[in-house]
Protein backbone atom coordinates (compact mmCIF):
# COMPACT_ATOMS: atom_id res chain seq x y z
CA UNK A 1 0.00 0.00 0.00
CA UNK A 2 1.18 3.50 -0.82
CA UNK A 3 2.63 5.34 2.15
CA UNK A 4 0.65 8.49 1.56
CA UNK A 5 -2.86 8.56 0.23
CA UNK A 6 -3.47 10.49 -2.92
CA UNK A 7 -5.23 13.74 -2.24
CA UNK A 8 -8.73 13.99 -3.56
CA UNK A 9 -9.16 15.52 -6.94
CA UNK A 10 -11.12 18.74 -6.67
CA UNK A 11 -13.71 19.13 -9.37
CA UNK A 12 -12.58 22.49 -10.65
CA UNK A 13 -9.21 23.81 -9.64
CA UNK A 14 -8.80 27.17 -7.96
CA UNK A 15 -6.69 28.18 -10.93
CA UNK A 16 -9.70 28.60 -13.21
CA UNK A 17 -11.17 31.18 -10.85
CA UNK A 18 -7.95 33.14 -10.47
CA UNK A 19 -7.30 33.12 -14.22
CA UNK A 20 -10.79 34.49 -14.86
CA UNK A 21 -10.23 37.28 -12.36
CA UNK A 22 -6.85 38.02 -13.91
CA UNK A 23 -8.33 38.20 -17.41
CA UNK A 24 -10.97 40.65 -16.32
CA UNK A 25 -8.31 42.69 -14.53
CA UNK A 26 -6.32 43.34 -17.72
CA UNK A 27 -9.07 43.41 -20.37
CA UNK A 28 -9.48 47.22 -20.58
CA UNK A 29 -5.74 47.64 -21.17
CA UNK A 30 -4.80 44.65 -23.29
CA UNK A 31 -7.83 44.20 -25.53
CA UNK A 32 -8.32 47.03 -28.03
CA UNK A 33 -11.54 48.97 -27.51
CA UNK A 34 -12.84 48.18 -30.99
CA UNK A 35 -12.85 44.47 -30.20
CA UNK A 36 -14.27 44.56 -26.70
CA UNK A 37 -15.19 48.00 -25.43
CA UNK A 38 -14.86 48.70 -21.74
CA UNK A 39 -18.64 49.08 -21.58
CA UNK A 40 -19.16 45.62 -23.09
CA UNK A 41 -16.61 44.11 -20.72
CA UNK A 42 -18.43 45.74 -17.80
CA UNK A 43 -21.71 44.30 -18.96
CA UNK A 44 -20.15 40.85 -19.35
CA UNK A 45 -18.93 40.97 -15.77
CA UNK A 46 -22.34 42.03 -14.43
CA UNK A 47 -24.28 39.45 -16.43
CA UNK A 48 -21.57 36.94 -15.55
CA UNK A 49 -22.31 37.47 -11.87
CA UNK A 50 -26.02 37.12 -12.62
CA UNK A 51 -25.34 33.84 -14.46
CA UNK A 52 -23.19 32.50 -11.60
CA UNK A 53 -25.94 33.31 -9.13
CA UNK A 54 -28.48 31.67 -11.40
CA UNK A 55 -26.30 28.61 -11.91
CA UNK A 56 -25.84 28.11 -8.17
CA UNK A 57 -29.47 27.02 -8.32
CA UNK A 58 -29.57 25.37 -11.77
CA UNK A 59 -26.20 23.69 -12.17
CA UNK A 60 -25.36 22.94 -8.53
CA UNK A 61 -28.67 22.33 -6.77
CA UNK A 62 -30.45 21.16 -9.92
CA UNK A 63 -33.42 23.52 -9.61
CA UNK A 64 -34.60 25.35 -12.72
CA UNK A 65 -35.96 28.81 -12.04
CA UNK A 66 -37.63 30.55 -14.91
CA UNK A 67 -38.12 33.76 -13.00
CA UNK A 68 -34.66 35.03 -12.23
CA UNK A 69 -35.52 38.29 -13.97
CA UNK A 70 -37.43 39.10 -10.78
CA UNK A 71 -34.22 39.15 -8.70
CA UNK A 72 -32.20 40.97 -11.33
CA UNK A 73 -34.91 43.53 -11.98
CA UNK A 74 -35.77 44.01 -8.33
CA UNK A 75 -32.10 44.59 -7.56
CA UNK A 76 -31.89 47.06 -10.42
CA UNK A 77 -35.00 49.03 -9.46
CA UNK A 78 -34.30 48.77 -5.74
CA UNK A 79 -30.82 50.19 -6.14
CA UNK A 80 -32.04 52.98 -8.45
CA UNK A 81 -34.96 54.02 -6.27
CA UNK A 82 -32.83 53.90 -3.12
CA UNK A 83 -30.31 56.25 -4.71
CA UNK A 84 -32.78 58.54 -6.45
CA UNK A 85 -35.62 58.84 -3.95
CA UNK A 86 -33.96 58.04 -0.65
CA UNK A 87 -30.65 59.73 -1.28
CA UNK A 88 -28.60 56.62 -0.46
CA UNK A 89 -25.01 56.27 -1.65
CA UNK A 90 -23.98 53.71 -4.28
CA UNK A 91 -22.98 51.34 -1.46
CA UNK A 92 -26.34 51.88 0.19
CA UNK A 93 -28.12 51.19 -3.10
CA UNK A 94 -26.26 47.92 -3.54
CA UNK A 95 -27.10 46.89 0.01
CA UNK A 96 -30.77 47.56 -0.75
CA UNK A 97 -30.45 45.31 -3.84
CA UNK A 98 -28.95 42.55 -1.73
CA UNK A 99 -31.58 42.74 0.97
CA UNK A 100 -34.47 42.84 -1.52
CA UNK A 101 -33.04 39.81 -3.32
CA UNK A 102 -32.82 37.84 -0.09
CA UNK A 103 -36.36 38.80 0.93
CA UNK A 104 -37.83 37.89 -2.45
CA UNK A 105 -35.97 34.59 -2.55
CA UNK A 106 -37.19 33.77 0.95
CA UNK A 107 -40.79 34.45 -0.11
CA UNK A 108 -40.51 32.45 -3.34
CA UNK A 109 -38.79 29.67 -1.41
CA UNK A 110 -41.48 29.58 1.26
CA UNK A 111 -44.15 29.26 -1.43
CA UNK A 112 -42.54 26.99 -3.97
CA UNK A 113 -39.32 25.28 -2.91
CA UNK A 114 -41.04 21.94 -2.30
CA UNK A 115 -42.37 21.95 -5.87
CA UNK A 116 -40.31 20.03 -8.36
CA UNK A 117 -39.02 20.60 -11.85
CA UNK A 118 -41.29 22.43 -14.19
CA UNK A 119 -43.75 23.34 -11.40
CA UNK A 120 -41.13 25.37 -9.60
CA UNK A 121 -40.08 26.95 -12.89
CA UNK A 122 -43.66 28.00 -13.63
CA UNK A 123 -44.33 29.42 -10.18
CA UNK A 124 -41.10 31.40 -10.25
CA UNK A 125 -41.98 32.69 -13.72
CA UNK A 126 -45.46 33.74 -12.58
CA UNK A 127 -44.00 35.67 -9.66
CA UNK A 128 -41.49 37.38 -11.95
CA UNK A 129 -44.22 38.38 -14.40
CA UNK A 130 -46.16 39.82 -11.48
CA UNK A 131 -43.21 42.10 -10.74
CA UNK A 132 -42.99 43.07 -14.40
CA UNK A 133 -46.62 44.16 -14.57
CA UNK A 134 -46.40 45.92 -11.22
CA UNK A 135 -43.49 47.97 -12.50
CA UNK A 136 -45.25 48.53 -15.80
CA UNK A 137 -48.35 50.19 -14.49
CA UNK A 138 -49.58 50.21 -10.85
CA UNK A 139 -46.28 51.56 -9.59
CA UNK A 140 -45.59 53.72 -12.61
CA UNK A 141 -45.13 56.79 -10.43
CA UNK A 142 -41.97 55.29 -8.93
CA UNK A 143 -40.82 52.93 -11.64
CA UNK A 144 -41.46 55.09 -14.70
CA UNK A 145 -43.50 52.35 -16.40
CA UNK A 146 -42.37 51.54 -19.92
CA UNK A 147 -39.71 54.24 -19.90
CA UNK A 148 -37.85 52.57 -17.09
CA UNK A 149 -36.34 54.10 -14.00
CA UNK A 150 -34.92 57.47 -14.99
CA UNK A 151 -33.49 60.59 -13.43
CA UNK A 152 -30.95 58.78 -11.32
CA UNK A 153 -28.43 61.44 -10.30
CA UNK A 154 -24.89 61.27 -11.60
CA UNK A 155 -23.18 58.50 -9.68
CA UNK A 156 -19.93 58.72 -7.85
CA UNK A 157 -18.27 57.19 -4.84
CA UNK A 158 -16.91 59.13 -1.92
CA UNK A 159 -16.06 56.19 0.31
CA UNK A 160 -13.43 54.76 0.71
CA UNK A 161 -12.06 57.26 -1.81
CA UNK A 162 -13.56 59.49 -4.45
CA UNK A 163 -14.35 57.70 -7.72
CA UNK A 164 -16.33 59.16 -10.58
CA UNK A 165 -18.57 56.38 -11.84
CA UNK A 166 -19.44 58.33 -15.01
CA UNK A 167 -16.23 57.48 -16.79
CA UNK A 168 -15.83 53.92 -18.12
CA UNK A 169 -12.56 52.83 -16.53
CA UNK A 170 -13.31 53.74 -12.89
CA UNK A 171 -16.77 52.24 -13.34
CA UNK A 172 -15.21 49.10 -14.78
CA UNK A 173 -12.93 48.63 -11.81
CA UNK A 174 -15.66 49.39 -9.33
CA UNK A 175 -17.78 46.63 -10.92
CA UNK A 176 -14.70 44.41 -11.09
CA UNK A 177 -14.17 44.82 -7.35
CA UNK A 178 -17.75 43.83 -6.45
CA UNK A 179 -18.00 41.02 -9.01
CA UNK A 180 -14.56 39.69 -8.06
CA UNK A 181 -15.44 39.45 -4.38
CA UNK A 182 -18.77 37.85 -5.28
CA UNK A 183 -17.13 35.25 -7.53
CA UNK A 184 -14.70 34.31 -4.77
CA UNK A 185 -17.57 34.11 -2.29
CA UNK A 186 -19.64 31.87 -4.59
CA UNK A 187 -16.58 29.71 -5.19
CA UNK A 188 -16.04 29.37 -1.49
CA UNK A 189 -19.68 28.55 -0.80
CA UNK A 190 -19.77 25.91 -3.54
CA UNK A 191 -16.71 24.18 -2.11
CA UNK A 192 -17.93 24.26 1.46
CA UNK A 193 -19.70 21.30 3.04
CA UNK A 194 -22.94 23.07 2.15
CA UNK A 195 -21.95 23.46 -1.50
CA UNK A 196 -21.17 19.77 -1.72
CA UNK A 197 -24.53 19.01 -0.19
CA UNK A 198 -26.18 20.97 -3.02
CA UNK A 199 -24.46 18.81 -5.62
CA UNK A 200 -25.54 15.66 -3.82
CA UNK A 201 -29.14 16.90 -3.93
CA UNK A 202 -28.80 17.53 -7.66
CA UNK A 203 -27.40 14.05 -8.23
CA UNK A 204 -29.82 12.07 -6.10
CA UNK A 205 -32.31 13.63 -3.77
CA UNK A 206 -33.69 10.48 -2.09
CA UNK A 207 -30.18 9.26 -1.35
CA UNK A 208 -29.28 12.62 0.20
CA UNK A 209 -32.39 12.45 2.34
CA UNK A 210 -31.55 8.89 3.37
CA UNK A 211 -28.13 10.10 4.48
CA UNK A 212 -29.85 12.37 6.97
CA UNK A 213 -29.76 15.78 5.33
CA UNK A 214 -32.57 18.30 5.55
CA UNK A 215 -32.94 18.64 1.80
CA UNK A 216 -35.76 21.19 1.81
CA UNK A 217 -33.81 23.59 4.01
CA UNK A 218 -30.70 23.21 1.85
CA UNK A 219 -32.69 23.98 -1.31
CA UNK A 220 -34.25 26.99 0.38
CA UNK A 221 -30.87 28.38 1.40
CA UNK A 222 -29.45 27.80 -2.06
CA UNK A 223 -32.36 29.79 -3.52
CA UNK A 224 -31.62 32.62 -1.08
CA UNK A 225 -27.95 32.68 -2.09
CA UNK A 226 -28.94 32.60 -5.74
CA UNK A 227 -31.37 35.48 -5.27
CA UNK A 228 -28.78 37.44 -3.34
CA UNK A 229 -26.13 37.34 -6.05
CA UNK A 230 -28.65 37.83 -8.87
CA UNK A 231 -30.09 40.96 -7.31
CA UNK A 232 -26.63 42.27 -6.52
CA UNK A 233 -25.90 41.92 -10.24
CA UNK A 234 -29.13 43.82 -10.90
CA UNK A 235 -27.98 46.64 -8.63
CA UNK A 236 -24.67 46.82 -10.48
CA UNK A 237 -26.55 46.90 -13.77
CA UNK A 238 -28.45 49.98 -12.62
CA UNK A 239 -25.22 51.70 -11.63
CA UNK A 240 -23.60 50.71 -14.93
CA UNK A 241 -26.46 52.07 -17.06
CA UNK A 242 -27.38 54.98 -14.84
CA UNK A 243 -30.99 53.97 -15.27
CA UNK A 244 -33.25 50.97 -14.79
CA UNK A 245 -34.77 49.49 -17.93
CA UNK A 246 -38.11 47.68 -17.65
CA UNK A 247 -36.65 44.80 -19.69
CA UNK A 248 -34.68 43.68 -16.62
CA UNK A 249 -37.96 42.38 -15.19
CA UNK A 250 -39.26 40.87 -18.42
CA UNK A 251 -39.46 37.09 -18.78
CA UNK A 252 -37.03 37.26 -21.70
CA UNK A 253 -34.32 38.19 -19.20
CA UNK A 254 -35.00 34.91 -17.35
CA UNK A 255 -34.81 33.07 -20.67
CA UNK A 256 -31.61 34.77 -21.78
CA UNK A 257 -29.76 33.98 -18.57
CA UNK A 258 -30.80 30.34 -18.90
CA UNK A 259 -29.62 30.31 -22.51
CA UNK A 260 -26.25 31.85 -21.67
CA UNK A 261 -25.72 29.45 -18.75
CA UNK A 262 -26.44 26.39 -20.88
CA UNK A 263 -24.27 27.77 -23.67
CA UNK A 264 -21.30 28.07 -21.31
CA UNK A 265 -21.91 24.80 -19.46
CA UNK A 266 -24.12 24.55 -16.41
CA UNK A 267 -22.15 21.77 -14.76
CA UNK A 268 -18.98 23.83 -14.57
CA UNK A 269 -18.17 26.70 -12.29
CA UNK A 270 -16.96 29.25 -14.79
CA UNK A 271 -19.04 28.07 -17.77
CA UNK A 272 -21.88 30.56 -17.21
CA UNK A 273 -19.44 33.49 -17.38
CA UNK A 274 -18.01 32.16 -20.66
CA UNK A 275 -21.53 31.72 -22.01
CA UNK A 276 -22.38 35.30 -21.10
CA UNK A 277 -19.20 36.53 -22.75
CA UNK A 278 -19.83 34.68 -26.02
CA UNK A 279 -23.50 35.64 -26.13
CA UNK A 280 -23.06 39.33 -25.36
CA UNK A 281 -20.08 39.59 -27.70
CA UNK A 282 -22.08 38.06 -30.55
CA UNK A 283 -25.04 40.25 -29.81
CA UNK A 284 -22.85 43.32 -29.71
CA UNK A 285 -21.05 42.55 -32.96
CA UNK A 286 -23.99 41.36 -35.04
CA UNK A 287 -26.32 44.14 -33.99
CA UNK A 288 -23.94 46.49 -35.88
CA UNK A 289 -24.08 44.48 -39.04
CA UNK A 290 -27.62 43.17 -39.08
CA UNK A 291 -30.78 44.72 -37.83
CA UNK A 292 -32.23 41.31 -36.97
CA UNK A 293 -29.22 40.17 -34.99
CA UNK A 294 -31.36 37.71 -33.00
CA UNK A 295 -31.45 35.55 -36.13
CA UNK A 296 -27.67 35.27 -36.25
CA UNK A 297 -27.38 34.72 -32.52
CA UNK A 298 -30.07 32.05 -32.77
CA UNK A 299 -28.20 30.19 -35.52
CA UNK A 300 -24.96 30.61 -33.61
CA UNK A 301 -26.59 29.20 -30.49
CA UNK A 302 -27.86 26.12 -32.28
CA UNK A 303 -24.45 25.58 -33.88
CA UNK A 304 -22.58 25.97 -30.60
CA UNK A 305 -24.87 23.58 -28.75
CA UNK A 306 -24.38 20.99 -31.49
CA UNK A 307 -20.61 21.34 -31.25
CA UNK A 308 -20.56 21.64 -27.45
CA UNK A 309 -23.42 19.50 -26.12
CA UNK A 310 -22.41 20.05 -22.51
CA UNK A 311 -21.82 23.75 -23.05
CA UNK A 312 -18.56 25.31 -24.14
CA UNK A 313 -16.62 24.83 -20.92
CA UNK A 314 -18.36 21.58 -20.02
CA UNK A 315 -17.47 19.88 -23.30
CA UNK A 316 -13.87 21.09 -23.30
CA UNK A 317 -13.49 19.92 -19.71
CA UNK A 318 -14.86 16.42 -20.31
CA UNK A 319 -12.72 16.02 -23.45
CA UNK A 320 -9.67 17.06 -21.45
CA UNK A 321 -10.50 14.72 -18.55
CA UNK A 322 -11.15 11.82 -20.92
CA UNK A 323 -7.77 12.35 -22.57
CA UNK A 324 -6.02 12.53 -19.22
CA UNK A 325 -7.61 9.35 -17.83
CA UNK A 326 -6.79 7.61 -21.10
CA UNK A 327 -3.12 8.57 -20.84
CA UNK A 328 -3.08 7.54 -17.16
CA UNK A 329 -4.44 4.13 -17.96
CA UNK A 330 -1.89 3.58 -20.72
CA UNK A 331 1.13 4.25 -18.51
CA UNK A 332 0.98 1.21 -16.20
CA UNK A 333 0.61 -1.06 -19.23
CA UNK A 334 3.80 0.31 -20.70
CA UNK A 335 5.49 -0.23 -17.37
CA UNK A 336 4.63 -3.93 -17.24
CA UNK A 337 5.68 -4.38 -20.84
CA UNK A 338 9.08 -2.83 -20.22
CA UNK A 339 9.71 -5.16 -17.27
CA UNK A 340 9.54 -8.24 -19.42
Amino acid sequence: MATKMKTVKVQTSNRVVWITLLIFLVVPYLVPGNIISTALATEIMISGLFALGFNLLLGYTGILSFGHAAYFGLGCYGCGIAIRDFGLSVWGGLCVSLILGVILAAIVGAIAIKKRGVYFAMISMAIAQMFYFMALSPFKRWTGGEDGLKFIPKLSLSFPFAIDLQSPIPLYYFVYFIVGISILAIWRILNSPFGRLLQAIRENEPRTLASGYNVTLAKFISLVFSGLFSSLAGGLFCIYLGYGPLQTLYWLTSGTILLMTILGGMHTFIGPVVGVGVFLYAQNKFSWILERWELVVGILFVALILIFPEGIVGTIKSKYLARRTASQEVEPVEETVSRH
Binding site: Q199, A200, E203, L209, A210, G212
Partner: protein, 250 residues
Protein backbone atom coordinates in the same frame (compact mmCIF):
# COMPACT_ATOMS: atom_id res chain seq x y z
CA UNK B 1 -37.21 -4.21 24.97
CA UNK B 2 -36.75 -4.91 21.25
CA UNK B 3 -34.42 -2.66 19.27
CA UNK B 4 -36.98 -1.96 16.57
CA UNK B 5 -40.64 -2.75 17.00
CA UNK B 6 -43.80 -2.13 15.01
CA UNK B 7 -47.32 -2.25 16.41
CA UNK B 8 -50.23 -2.92 14.06
CA UNK B 9 -48.45 -1.08 11.29
CA UNK B 10 -50.64 -0.38 8.24
CA UNK B 11 -50.10 1.34 4.93
CA UNK B 12 -52.94 1.56 2.44
CA UNK B 13 -52.66 2.93 -1.07
CA UNK B 14 -56.29 3.65 -1.81
CA UNK B 15 -57.98 0.28 -1.47
CA UNK B 16 -54.74 -1.68 -1.62
CA UNK B 17 -53.54 -2.88 1.75
CA UNK B 18 -49.80 -2.94 1.06
CA UNK B 19 -48.91 -3.43 4.70
CA UNK B 20 -51.68 -4.65 6.94
CA UNK B 21 -51.38 -4.78 10.73
CA UNK B 22 -47.81 -5.93 10.83
CA UNK B 23 -46.28 -6.60 14.23
CA UNK B 24 -42.66 -7.53 14.32
CA UNK B 25 -39.49 -6.73 16.16
CA UNK B 26 -35.76 -6.86 15.71
CA UNK B 27 -33.29 -7.43 18.51
CA UNK B 28 -30.01 -5.56 18.72
CA UNK B 29 -27.24 -7.20 16.72
CA UNK B 30 -29.65 -9.42 14.83
CA UNK B 31 -29.52 -10.05 11.11
CA UNK B 32 -33.09 -10.46 10.08
CA UNK B 33 -34.51 -11.05 6.62
CA UNK B 34 -37.87 -10.23 5.20
CA UNK B 35 -39.04 -12.52 2.45
CA UNK B 36 -42.23 -12.86 0.49
CA UNK B 37 -43.50 -13.08 -3.06
CA UNK B 38 -43.68 -10.03 -5.34
CA UNK B 39 -46.08 -7.43 -4.05
CA UNK B 40 -46.04 -8.81 -0.53
CA UNK B 41 -45.28 -5.37 0.88
CA UNK B 42 -41.60 -5.83 1.75
CA UNK B 43 -40.33 -2.60 0.23
CA UNK B 44 -43.34 -0.69 1.52
CA UNK B 45 -42.57 -1.94 5.02
CA UNK B 46 -38.99 -0.76 4.60
CA UNK B 47 -40.11 2.64 3.42
CA UNK B 48 -42.35 2.94 6.47
CA UNK B 49 -39.53 2.03 8.83
CA UNK B 50 -37.14 4.61 7.40
CA UNK B 51 -39.74 7.37 7.21
CA UNK B 52 -40.07 7.67 3.45
CA UNK B 53 -43.77 6.82 3.75
CA UNK B 54 -46.07 7.82 6.54
CA UNK B 55 -48.09 4.89 7.92
CA UNK B 56 -51.87 4.86 7.64
CA UNK B 57 -52.10 3.45 11.14
CA UNK B 58 -49.93 1.80 13.76
CA UNK B 59 -46.72 2.73 15.47
CA UNK B 60 -42.99 2.23 15.05
CA UNK B 61 -40.56 2.27 17.96
CA UNK B 62 -36.78 2.44 17.65
CA UNK B 63 -34.81 1.98 20.89
CA UNK B 64 -38.03 2.65 22.73
CA UNK B 65 -38.62 5.98 20.96
CA UNK B 66 -41.73 6.55 18.87
CA UNK B 67 -40.52 7.31 15.33
CA UNK B 68 -43.82 6.76 13.55
CA UNK B 69 -44.14 10.25 12.07
CA UNK B 70 -40.46 11.04 11.65
CA UNK B 71 -39.26 11.87 8.14
CA UNK B 72 -36.41 10.00 6.48
CA UNK B 73 -33.71 12.56 7.28
CA UNK B 74 -34.70 12.44 10.98
CA UNK B 75 -34.70 8.64 11.21
CA UNK B 76 -31.34 8.66 9.47
CA UNK B 77 -29.96 10.98 12.13
CA UNK B 78 -31.29 8.58 14.76
CA UNK B 79 -29.36 5.74 13.15
CA UNK B 80 -31.67 4.04 10.68
CA UNK B 81 -30.15 4.13 7.21
CA UNK B 82 -31.38 2.33 4.16
CA UNK B 83 -30.19 1.36 0.73
CA UNK B 84 -32.67 1.38 -2.10
CA UNK B 85 -33.99 -1.49 -4.15
CA UNK B 86 -32.97 0.39 -7.30
CA UNK B 87 -29.44 1.55 -6.57
CA UNK B 88 -29.24 5.21 -5.56
CA UNK B 89 -25.80 6.78 -5.84
CA UNK B 90 -24.50 10.20 -6.92
CA UNK B 91 -23.48 9.36 -10.50
CA UNK B 92 -21.55 12.48 -11.51
CA UNK B 93 -19.59 12.75 -8.27
CA UNK B 94 -16.41 10.82 -7.63
CA UNK B 95 -16.61 7.57 -5.71
CA UNK B 96 -14.79 9.26 -2.86
CA UNK B 97 -17.19 12.18 -2.80
CA UNK B 98 -20.17 9.80 -2.83
CA UNK B 99 -19.12 8.40 0.52
CA UNK B 100 -17.62 11.64 1.85
CA UNK B 101 -20.84 13.61 1.43
CA UNK B 102 -22.67 10.99 3.46
CA UNK B 103 -20.00 10.96 6.17
CA UNK B 104 -20.21 14.75 6.29
CA UNK B 105 -23.90 14.55 7.23
CA UNK B 106 -22.97 13.52 10.77
CA UNK B 107 -20.64 16.46 11.28
CA UNK B 108 -21.51 19.59 9.43
CA UNK B 109 -24.19 20.19 6.84
CA UNK B 110 -24.87 23.92 6.90
CA UNK B 111 -21.36 25.28 6.93
CA UNK B 112 -20.90 27.75 4.11
CA UNK B 113 -17.30 28.74 4.53
CA UNK B 114 -14.96 25.89 5.47
CA UNK B 115 -13.32 23.90 2.73
CA UNK B 116 -15.13 20.59 2.44
CA UNK B 117 -12.02 18.75 1.26
CA UNK B 118 -9.98 19.89 4.23
CA UNK B 119 -12.08 18.09 6.85
CA UNK B 120 -9.48 15.40 7.58
CA UNK B 121 -11.55 13.46 10.07
CA UNK B 122 -14.26 12.96 7.46
CA UNK B 123 -11.73 12.08 4.75
CA UNK B 124 -10.18 9.48 7.02
CA UNK B 125 -13.55 7.92 7.76
CA UNK B 126 -14.37 7.93 4.03
CA UNK B 127 -11.17 6.03 3.21
CA UNK B 128 -11.91 3.53 5.95
CA UNK B 129 -15.34 2.82 4.50
CA UNK B 130 -14.07 2.67 0.92
CA UNK B 131 -11.56 0.07 2.05
CA UNK B 132 -14.32 -1.92 3.69
CA UNK B 133 -16.46 -1.99 0.51
CA UNK B 134 -13.36 -2.56 -1.66
CA UNK B 135 -13.64 0.59 -3.71
CA UNK B 136 -10.56 2.44 -2.48
CA UNK B 137 -8.77 1.94 -5.80
CA UNK B 138 -11.63 3.57 -7.71
CA UNK B 139 -11.97 6.55 -5.39
CA UNK B 140 -11.16 9.19 -8.01
CA UNK B 141 -13.45 7.79 -10.68
CA UNK B 142 -16.90 9.15 -11.33
CA UNK B 143 -19.43 6.82 -9.77
CA UNK B 144 -21.29 6.60 -13.08
CA UNK B 145 -18.65 4.33 -14.61
CA UNK B 146 -18.82 1.68 -11.89
CA UNK B 147 -20.26 -1.74 -12.70
CA UNK B 148 -23.63 -2.80 -11.31
CA UNK B 149 -22.09 -4.79 -8.48
CA UNK B 150 -19.71 -1.98 -7.56
CA UNK B 151 -22.62 0.44 -7.44
CA UNK B 152 -24.41 -1.83 -4.98
CA UNK B 153 -21.29 -1.84 -2.83
CA UNK B 154 -20.95 1.91 -3.17
CA UNK B 155 -24.46 2.45 -1.92
CA UNK B 156 -23.76 0.24 1.06
CA UNK B 157 -20.68 2.41 1.64
CA UNK B 158 -22.79 5.57 1.43
CA UNK B 159 -25.20 4.10 3.95
CA UNK B 160 -22.37 3.06 6.30
CA UNK B 161 -20.87 6.54 6.19
CA UNK B 162 -24.00 7.85 7.88
CA UNK B 163 -23.12 5.87 11.05
CA UNK B 164 -26.13 3.57 11.07
CA UNK B 165 -27.12 1.53 14.07
CA UNK B 166 -29.79 -0.26 12.09
CA UNK B 167 -29.06 -0.88 8.43
CA UNK B 168 -31.93 -1.58 6.06
CA UNK B 169 -30.74 -3.31 2.90
CA UNK B 170 -33.31 -3.60 0.14
CA UNK B 171 -32.25 -6.46 -2.13
CA UNK B 172 -28.50 -5.89 -1.90
CA UNK B 173 -27.69 -8.78 -4.20
CA UNK B 174 -30.32 -8.13 -6.87
CA UNK B 175 -28.82 -8.42 -10.33
CA UNK B 176 -25.53 -9.83 -9.08
CA UNK B 177 -23.90 -12.93 -10.49
CA UNK B 178 -23.74 -15.98 -8.19
CA UNK B 179 -20.06 -15.29 -7.52
CA UNK B 180 -20.72 -11.66 -6.68
CA UNK B 181 -23.60 -12.71 -4.45
CA UNK B 182 -21.32 -14.91 -2.36
CA UNK B 183 -18.91 -12.00 -1.88
CA UNK B 184 -21.74 -9.65 -1.00
CA UNK B 185 -22.98 -12.08 1.60
CA UNK B 186 -19.53 -12.17 3.16
CA UNK B 187 -19.51 -8.38 3.23
CA UNK B 188 -22.89 -8.17 4.94
CA UNK B 189 -21.84 -10.72 7.51
CA UNK B 190 -18.62 -8.82 8.13
CA UNK B 191 -20.53 -5.60 8.65
CA UNK B 192 -22.66 -7.20 11.30
CA UNK B 193 -19.73 -8.78 13.10
CA UNK B 194 -17.19 -5.96 12.86
CA UNK B 195 -19.40 -2.91 13.23
CA UNK B 196 -21.97 -4.54 15.53
CA UNK B 197 -24.75 -3.44 13.24
CA UNK B 198 -28.28 -4.61 13.38
CA UNK B 199 -29.27 -5.47 9.84
CA UNK B 200 -32.64 -5.89 8.25
CA UNK B 201 -32.63 -7.40 4.80
CA UNK B 202 -35.17 -7.68 2.02
CA UNK B 203 -34.06 -10.43 -0.29
CA UNK B 204 -35.36 -12.62 -3.08
CA UNK B 205 -32.44 -14.98 -3.22
CA UNK B 206 -33.34 -17.85 -0.86
CA UNK B 207 -29.75 -19.02 -0.69
CA UNK B 208 -28.68 -15.69 0.68
CA UNK B 209 -31.52 -15.54 3.15
CA UNK B 210 -31.13 -19.03 4.52
CA UNK B 211 -27.38 -18.65 4.74
CA UNK B 212 -26.87 -15.46 6.64
CA UNK B 213 -30.05 -14.68 8.54
CA UNK B 214 -30.51 -15.21 12.25
CA UNK B 215 -34.21 -14.94 11.75
CA UNK B 216 -36.54 -14.84 8.77
CA UNK B 217 -39.83 -13.10 8.54
CA UNK B 218 -42.27 -13.88 5.76
CA UNK B 219 -44.84 -11.45 4.42
CA UNK B 220 -47.69 -12.19 2.07
CA UNK B 221 -50.22 -9.67 0.77
CA UNK B 222 -49.23 -7.20 3.45
CA UNK B 223 -49.66 -9.63 6.33
CA UNK B 224 -47.22 -11.57 8.44
CA UNK B 225 -47.23 -15.18 7.34
CA UNK B 226 -44.53 -16.67 9.51
CA UNK B 227 -41.50 -15.73 11.55
CA UNK B 228 -38.68 -17.85 12.86
CA UNK B 229 -35.25 -19.32 12.24
CA UNK B 230 -34.29 -20.07 8.64
CA UNK B 231 -34.78 -23.77 9.27
CA UNK B 232 -38.23 -23.27 10.74
CA UNK B 233 -39.27 -20.98 7.87
CA UNK B 234 -38.13 -23.34 5.14
CA UNK B 235 -40.08 -26.14 6.83
CA UNK B 236 -43.18 -23.97 7.30
CA UNK B 237 -46.13 -25.25 5.32
CA UNK B 238 -47.75 -21.88 4.72
CA UNK B 239 -44.52 -20.38 3.41
CA UNK B 240 -44.00 -23.29 1.07
CA UNK B 241 -47.52 -22.90 -0.18
CA UNK B 242 -47.02 -19.19 -0.97
CA UNK B 243 -43.75 -19.81 -2.73
CA UNK B 244 -44.63 -22.99 -4.55
CA UNK B 245 -48.35 -22.95 -5.10
CA UNK B 246 -49.63 -19.47 -4.50
CA UNK B 247 -52.61 -18.97 -2.24
CA UNK B 248 -55.02 -17.49 -4.74
CA UNK B 249 -54.40 -20.11 -7.40
CA UNK B 250 -55.64 -22.99 -5.28
Amino acid sequence: MPYLETKDLCKYFGGLKAVDQVNFSVEKGQLKSIIGPNGAGKTTLFNLLCGLYEPTAGKIFFQGEDITRKKMNRTSQLGITKTFQITHIFPRLSVFENVRISAQSRKTSFNFWRKADALEEINEKTRKILRMVQLLDSQDRPASILSHGERKYLEIGIALAADPKLLLLDEPTAGMSPAETVLAMDLIRDLRDQLNLTILLVEHDMNVVMNISDEVFCLNEGRVLACGTPEAISADASVQKVYLGGTKAC
